[in-house]
């Protein structure tokens, strides 16, 4: 009975092999660079000019994606928490209208509120952001306390918020905005706002209790509750933050366009979700990072900008973009499965 002579292993201690994990964004960053190089090569072949080293093109590209990026900062957090937000695009439209209506030039006779023209730009900004916040609060409360699926709650909000935007001026655009307000959308301001928000929430997600709870709820809401987390309150908080980001995007967009239009932001919600998912955020919750989302937003921008540069028909652009989004999710799932069986 004692012929075995297997050495007694130290049962507790696993080998202290230093397995340094590479940041998961690395692969997606590679995809981004590869894509840029591809367009550069195609540029020289078909157009005889550079793609990357055209400052104006890159600026337009980045400015365009900054708006999506601002929403995506909020949406990524919602997805990490295991939710989804379909309402962000409509909220952009709604807050754009509300902000614009309070940013019209002094004495403009056809103003929405003739008595409230020439205001300090602080007021329209706050109005837009607060409206976004209220929408987020409603989204979050509906989802947390009535337990309806986030998809349904935010789908309803998507329709309603768009309705508010259309109703606000019966679909009339709001023009004649003050120069002081337009500053927010000029130059690099949208990009700065986007990067600042991304940086703040990146730190929040990684190093604060807020972040730890967000990941925990996304990974397992039941276990989060048993661990003493007030899951409902946290959900409301995260949706509210996302609402603020959508409101901010509405403000930035009107300032950039120097007019408020009820139709803006259509489809933004899907671009924001796409940026998150391309960046490695898992739709099943618990996994994701804002650095990935930023890269995801840039990838979307490179695609749009690159195809325009190559004079690819707009319809083809959409078709290919859809394919890229799906491909990103497929590779991501494949990567996760490999990790899981490991």
């Amino acid at each position: 009975m004692a012929k075995e002579s297997v050495p007694v292993a130290n049962a507790g201690e696993a080998s202290p092999r230093g397995r340094r994990r590479l940041p998961p964004e690395l692969s997606i960053l590679g995809v981004m660079i590869g894509m840029m190089l591809l367009f550069e090569a195609l540029g020289w072949i078909f157009e005889g000019q550079t793609f990357i080293f055209n400052a104006l093109r890159i600026k337009i590209m980045i400015l365009q994606e900054a708006e999506i990026g601002i929403i995506a900062v909020g949406v990524t957090q919602i997805i990490i928490m295991g939710g989804i937000d379909l309402s962000s695009g409509s909220v952009v439209g709604m807050t754009a209208m509300i902000a614009a209506s309070l940013a019209q030039t002094e004495g403009y006779t056809h103003a929405v509120y003739p008595g409230l023209t020439g205001l300090n730009p602080v007021f329209p900004v706050i109005a837009g952001v607060v409206c976004g916040m209220i929408v987020g609060l409603i989204n979050g409360s509906l989802i947390a306390y009535t337990k309806i699926p986030p998809f349904i709650a935010t789908l309803g909000m998507m329709v309603s918020a768009r309705g508010v935007a259309d109703w606000y001026t019966n679909g009339q655009p709001i023009g004649n905005l003050t120069d002081a307000y337009a500053v927010i959308g000029s130059g690099w301001w949208p990009v700065i706002i986007f990067l600042a928000a991304a940086a703040i929430f990146h730190v929040a997600l990684r190093y604060t209790r807020y972040g730890k709870f967000t990941y925990a709820i996304g990974a397992n809401p039941l276990a989060a509750r048993v661990s003493g987390i007030n899951v409902e309150r946290h959900m409301v908080l995260v949706y509210t933050i996302a609402g603020v980001m959508s409101g901010l995007c509405g403000v930035v967009h009107t300032a950039r366009a120097i007019s408020g239009q009820a139709g803006v932001g259509v489809g933004f919600e899907l671009d924001a979700i796409a940026a998150s998912v391309i960046g490695g955020t898992s739709l099943s919750g618990g996994v994701g990072r804002l650095t990935g989302t930023c890269i995801g937003a840039v990838i979307l921008g490179v695609l749009t900008s690159g195809f325009t540069f190559l004079n690819v028909d707009a319809h083809y652009q959409e078709i290919i973009k859809g394919g890229v989004i799906v491909a990103a999710v497929i590779t991501d799932q494949y990567r996760q499965r490999k990790r899981r069986t490991a």
């Binding site: 009975m1 012929k3 075995e4 297997v6 007694v8 292993a9 049962a11 507790g12 201690e13 696993a14 080998s15 202290p16 092999r17 397995r19 994990r21 929040a204 190093y207 604060t208 209790r209 807020y210 730890k212 709870f213 990941y215 925990a216 990974a219 397992n220 039941l222 276990a223 989060a224 509750r225 048993v226 661990s227 003493g228 987390i229 007030n230 898992s282 618990g286 996994v287 990790r339 899981r340 069986t341 490991a342």
Partner: protein, 512 residues
């Protein structure tokens, strides 16, 4: 090489190859990043025998079984089924070769009926390709009659108790008419009576010449049902012995590589004042009129059959499902507990029964899993988490509980069940509770780790922590508890003192 389809055809023809061994596995090696899960192991299963696999968590038993059932592909190794060389590429291959596995974690579809679950992919169909529900129901009934299982084939699985689901899983595996049945801790959710029933089924299968691989942590089961036992340790095959010729202590020694002297080291500790007092606690539809006092340093066992409402009582005290009536007092003060957060503020901690459902954050790393309960009250400055101190605290727990993980950044999904459980225990120890509620603290855990956890519970009680412990394992309840509260169908049927408590007395109260 014998192909799966040929194998299936041979089996259906009813031909019986002569080889003595149903399954022979040799030199199997399987490495995962950072871990050598199986190091040249072997395994042989005889026709009509029950072969038990023993080993600590992470010893490689489950990995080997996943290889045999086609879920993992090994790095190297040879497989012979009834003397013929085979290769498995998928679970479907395994089923075609006549190898069926009953998983430790249940894999049934909750919103489908029992019959649909059993015959999935093999539904009887009519000429147009539609499923013949009546025929499916009939076949299920026939199967259940044969196995003496009393479950309505038409009921949806989500309406079944865990124990009944386990029986459905077993019936499903039997329905494949496989030659090799792998059972991975099939009794962890079963009561004694159901275990007897399972053993009866196993004996029938044996007499039909089937071979059964039986993974368990429970010694008494081993000696009751197994013919052979193979022991694994740290991914290595340690030895195979006839079950009749080894003792319990032999096996423990082989498994752990050291001796464990006492299973339930009950320490006599001074019992202090009443800390938790529960009166007429009721949760409508689940349990009613539960009353007890829990004192500092006391371990109160909560026994009863699965479904008697034990876990519901724990959940209600912890605020997961607030009570519909009755009172809870802590230190003599009445507290209306409506949420787990509130219970934690009163000094409680609650290790839940279901690791996967309500315990682990499977996608997160070990450290996040461990620190989450602590974060609610401390180690956060201005919202920022004090990573450095927490890292130290988590490492400390990892060492004390001997949690086997490469590092704290490992995803908890990649840990074995026992190590996951230890991480969850660490989560609650880190908040230094005064009242610790444990629901099946050692389910699915090997003897070595089990003894450690028992010692730990004893130590905590020694330090004045009041412990409420639910367990389906009577020896555990009897060995650990100062008093045992017994429940039957949602009612409290008695509280027995340690000196009067024995298996018979408890079972009488539990089954009335």
């Amino acid at each position: 090489m014998l192909s799966p389809t040929t194998a299936q055809a041979i089996r259906e023809s009813g031909a019986v190859p002569k080889s003595e061994y149903l399954l022979e596995v040799e030199n199997v090696r399987k490495a995962f990043p950072g871990v050598l899960a199986l190091d040249n192991v072997q395994f042989k299963l005889k026709r009509g025998h029950v072969h038990a696999l023993m080993g600590e968590n992470g010893a490689g038993k489950s990995t080997l079984m996943k290889i045999i059932s086609g879920i993992y592909t090994p790095d190297s190794g040879s497989f012979r089924l009834k003397g013929q060389e085979i290769r498995l590429n998928s679970p479907l291959d395994a089923l075609r070769y006549g190898i069926a596995m009953i998983h430790q974690e249940l894999n049934l579809m909750a919103y489908m009926t029992v019959a649909e679950n059993i015959w999935i992919r093999r539904e009887p169909r009519n000429a147009l390709g539609f499923v013949r529900h009546e025929e499916m129901r009939r076949r299920t009934q026939e199967l259940f009659d044969r196995l003496d299982i009393q479950i309505d084939p038409e009921i949806e699985v989500r309406d079944l108790s865990v124990a009944s689901r386990q029986m459905v899983e077993i019936a499903k595996a039997v329905s494949y008419d496989s030659d090799v049945l792998i059972m991975d801790e099939p009794t962890s959710a079963l009561t004694d009576r159901e275990v007897d029933h399972l053993f009866k089924i196993i004996r029938t299968l044996k007499s039909q010449g089937k071979g059964i691989v039986y993974i368990t942590h429970k010694m008494n089961e081993l000696f009751e049902i197994a013919d052979e036992v193979s022991v694994f340790r740290d991914g290595k095959f340690v030895g195979e012995h006839p079950a009749a010729s080894v003792t319990r202590d032999d096996i423990i020694k082989l498994m752990v590589g050291r001796e464990i002297t006492q299973m339930f080291p009950k320490q006599t500790v001074p019992i202090g004042d009443v800390i938790l007092s529960v009166k007429n606690l009721t949760l409508a539809g689940r349990f009613q009129d539960i009353s007890f006092d829990l004192r500092k340093g006391e371990i109160l066992g909560l026994a009863g059959l699965v479904g008697s409402g034990r876990s519901n009582v724990a959940e209600t005290i912890f605020g997961v499902t607030p009570a519909t009536s009755g009172t809870i007092e802590i230190d003599g003060k009445r507290i209306d507990i409506r949420s787990p957060a509130q219970a934690m503020d009163s000094g409680m901690a609650f290790l839940t029964e279901d690791r996967k459902e309500t315990g682990c954050f499977l996608l997160l790393d070990v450290m996040s899993n461990m620190q989450i309960a602590l974060l609610r009250r401390s180690h956060v400055k201005a919202g920022f988490v004090d990573e450095r101190t927490l890292q130290k605290l988590c490492l400390e727990q990892k060492n004390i509980l001997r949690i086997r993980t490469p590092d704290l950044e490992e995803t908890i999904l990649n840990l074995s069940g026992g190590n996951q459980q230890k991480v969850l225990i660490a989560r609650w120890l880190m908040i230094h509770p005064r009242i610790l509620i444990l629901d099946e603290p050692t389910r699915g855990i090997d003897v070595g780790a089990k003894a450690e956890i028992h010692r730990l519970i004893g130590d905590l009680a020694g330090r004045g922590v009041a412990v409420l412990m639910i367990s389906s394992e009577l020896p555990e309840v009897l060995g650990m508890s100062d008093r045992v509260l017994v429940m039957h169908e949602g009612r409290q049927t008695g509280i027995v003192d340690r000196k009067d408590a024995d298996q018979v007395r408890i079972m009488e109260l539990a089954s009335q």
